[in-house]
């Protein structure tokens, strides 16, 4: 009951935020938070729920971003379909990657994703006829789209905000569905013990592929959004290992295998980033590293997980008090 109220309040806040916050810069920041949330959520499905730690998630973001860009620039495909197609292309790319990397377990899987991501980056950098190589792709204008008869003003942040807000909602809902249904339960089982999972009838290969595909789809969509919002992609920006590590960081700090974790992680990443940059000017990455170590050492369940356990404890306490009274 309380939860529904909270969610409704959250949705309302999300909905009216850009109308209340007038500063375009803060709207921009919120857009960044939401974009990182989608990326964190994407990583979380594979890394948090299914326990397959990937160091190469930027591959899917890059695939989505480039697909959307290329389709728009060379085929004139409307970006709003392009973003969706970007997600699908990311899924298609994820399948052979899964075929290769899922033969490996644990840290070996992680290292193999790192290697695949580097190979993909090098291909994107050198396949000039497709990607324009290091020069990158730039779009100057977005197509006319009308919404209820009114042309959308792409120079304003607000339409982008609503688009990413919807994508974020989709990502969170997918995560929620995953966490609540058979699929998610299967992923958790996979993370805990593959033999046991097989013994109770879970097709672990299929489950992992589903996790990867979902994860790639979300990252690909976020990539498409990235391309349209920032209007410029180049291989080092969208295929870098650093980007993959940031996604991982968001999911780990926010809380592995939690629905709301990535949102918290993204808020932490973006706001900490902004304020550290303002106050320390340099060296804020030191704090990232430090924070990551602390998180793994003391909060293996992340901020969200920590909050959850605290609430659980509180509730238990209440129950106990109630029982004795």
């Amino acid at each position: 009951m309380k939860k529904t109220v909270l969610i409704i309040i959250g949705l309302i806040v999300l909905g009216i935020a850009p109308l209340v916050v007038r500063s375009p810069f803060f709207v921009h920041l919120m857009i960044m938070v939401l974009m990182w949330t989608v990326l964190g959520a994407s990583w979380n499905i594979l890394g948090g729920y299914a326990g397959q730690v990937s160091f190469g998630h930027a591959t899917f973001l890059g695939a989505g971003a480039y697909t959307t860009m290329i389709l728009y620039l060379s085929c004139g495909v409307d970006p709003w379909y392009g973003i969706f197609i970007g997600g699908i292309v990311a899924v298609l790319i994820s399948l052979p990657i899964g075929f290769i990397c899922f033969r490996l377990r644990g840290p070996y899987f992680s290292l193999s994703t790192l290697a695949v991501a580097e190979i993909v980056r090098l291909v994107a950098l050198n396949w000039e006829s497709l990607t324009a190589g290091p020069v990158g792709l730039l779009i100057t204008t977005l197509p006319q789209v009308s919404f209820f008869g009114k042309a959308i003003n792409w120079e304003s942040k607000v339409p982008f905000y609503y688009i990413i807000a919807i994508i974020t909602l989709i990502a969170l809902i997918i995560t929620y569905i995953v966490s609540r249904t058979r699929v998610g339960a299967y992923l958790l089982a996979l993370r805990e013990d593959i033999d046991s999972a097989e013994s109770i009838g879970i097709n672990t290969v299929k489950a992992r592929v589903v996790a990867l595909a979902l994860s790639a789809f979300l990252a690909g969509i976020a990539g498409g959004f990235y391309a349209m919002y920032l209007r410029y992609v180049d291989p080092d920006a969208v295929f870098s290992i650093g980007l993959s590590v940031e996604m991982l960081f968001i999911a780990v700090v926010g809380g592995l295998a939690t629905v709301g974790g990535p949102l918290i992680g993204a808020i932490v990443l973006v706001t900490l980033g902004e304020s550290f940059r303002e106050h320390f000017l340099s060296g804020h990455l030191i704090f990232y590293g430090f924070f990551m170590m602390l998180a793994i050492r003391y909060m293996p369940d992340g901020v969200w997980g920590r909050i959850n356990t605290l609430f659980k404890k509180l509730r238990l306490k209440k129950d106990v008090n109630h029982g004795t009274a």
């Binding site: 609540r180 058979r182 339960a185 046991s196 013994s199 109770i200 097709n203």
Partner: protein, 248 residues
């Protein structure tokens, strides 16, 4: 026709024959004991039947159909469930989640799966612990959780790998009752056990394997006076030493 029919099963690890030309049948509704000294290959037999390890030779027929070569999960779909000797619960999940996961095999809706899981937990008397994390259970409870998880897949055949290992006598008696009860509800059971007392009291038939070969297949009361079995268990001189004297 036997429910489960194992024919000429052979498995080599390196040069060592872990299971060698093993054949036996499991009839519907029985509890079949599978015993043998340490390293006799009992767990390997289970892994071969459930598809975790592919055999070098041999067939496993479930209701007449060969299931060799299938993946473990599809064998589970066909109605063969197993437990593990070294318990493998999903540690960071609750007891209820552990069992519901297995119940998802036959119920796609979460609610139904959970209801089924609760029924099973009720049966193995773990319902009080439904909300605890699996890692917080005692060994005896984890063993029961293991059984509950297998049961929740609604199997035709249940392969129990040492469910009594590490339990104390009261717990063993308790667990024996549970096993018999499960059998009565219509699940056929193959039971690997070291605690022979439990086996002797509950099984309809017992198979003894030694060095991967079947050395005996008979009712429990005959097993205990079978010289070959005693030799396998107590050492080869045991018979000559105590020839003619009754045991116990």
């Amino acid at each position: 026709m036997a429910l489960l029919d194992v024919e000429g099963l052979t498995k080599c690890f390196g040069g060592l024959k872990a299971v060698s030309n093993l054949s036996f049948q499991v009839n519907e509704g029985e509890i079949l004991g599978l015993i043998g000294p340490n390293g006799a290959g009992k767990t390997t037999v289970f892994s071969l039947i459930t598809g975790f390890v592919p055999p070098n030779e041999g067939k496993v027929l479930l209701e007449g159909k060969d299931i060799v070569g299938l993946k473990p999960y599809s064998i589970a779909h066909k109605g063969v469930a197993r437990t593990f000797q070294i318990v493998k619960p999903f540690r960071k999940l609750t007891v209820l989640e552990n069992v519901s996961l297995a119940a998802f095999l036959r119920h796609s809706a979460r609610k139904e799966a959970e209801a089924e899981a609760r029924r099973v937990l009720e049966r193995v008397e773990l319902i009080d612990k439904a909300a605890s994390y699996a890692s917080d259970l005692t060994l005896s409870e984890q063993k029961r959780l293991e059984i509950a998880r297998a049961l929740a897949t609604n199997p035709k055949v249940l392969l129990l790998d040492e469910p009594m290992g590490g339990l104390n006598p009261t717990e063993i008696d308790h667990a024996s009752i549970l096993v018999r009860d499960i059998c009565k509800s219509g699940v056929t059971i193959v039971w690997v056990e070291h605690v022979l007392k439990a086996i002797m009291n509950s099984c309809h038939r017992v198979i003894v394997i030694h060095h991967g070969e079947k050395i005996a297949d008979m009712p429990p009361e005959q097993i205990v006076i079978n010289p070959v079995v005693i030799e396998a268990y107590l050492g080869k001189k045991a018979n000559s030493y105590k020839k003619g004297e009754p045991i116990c």
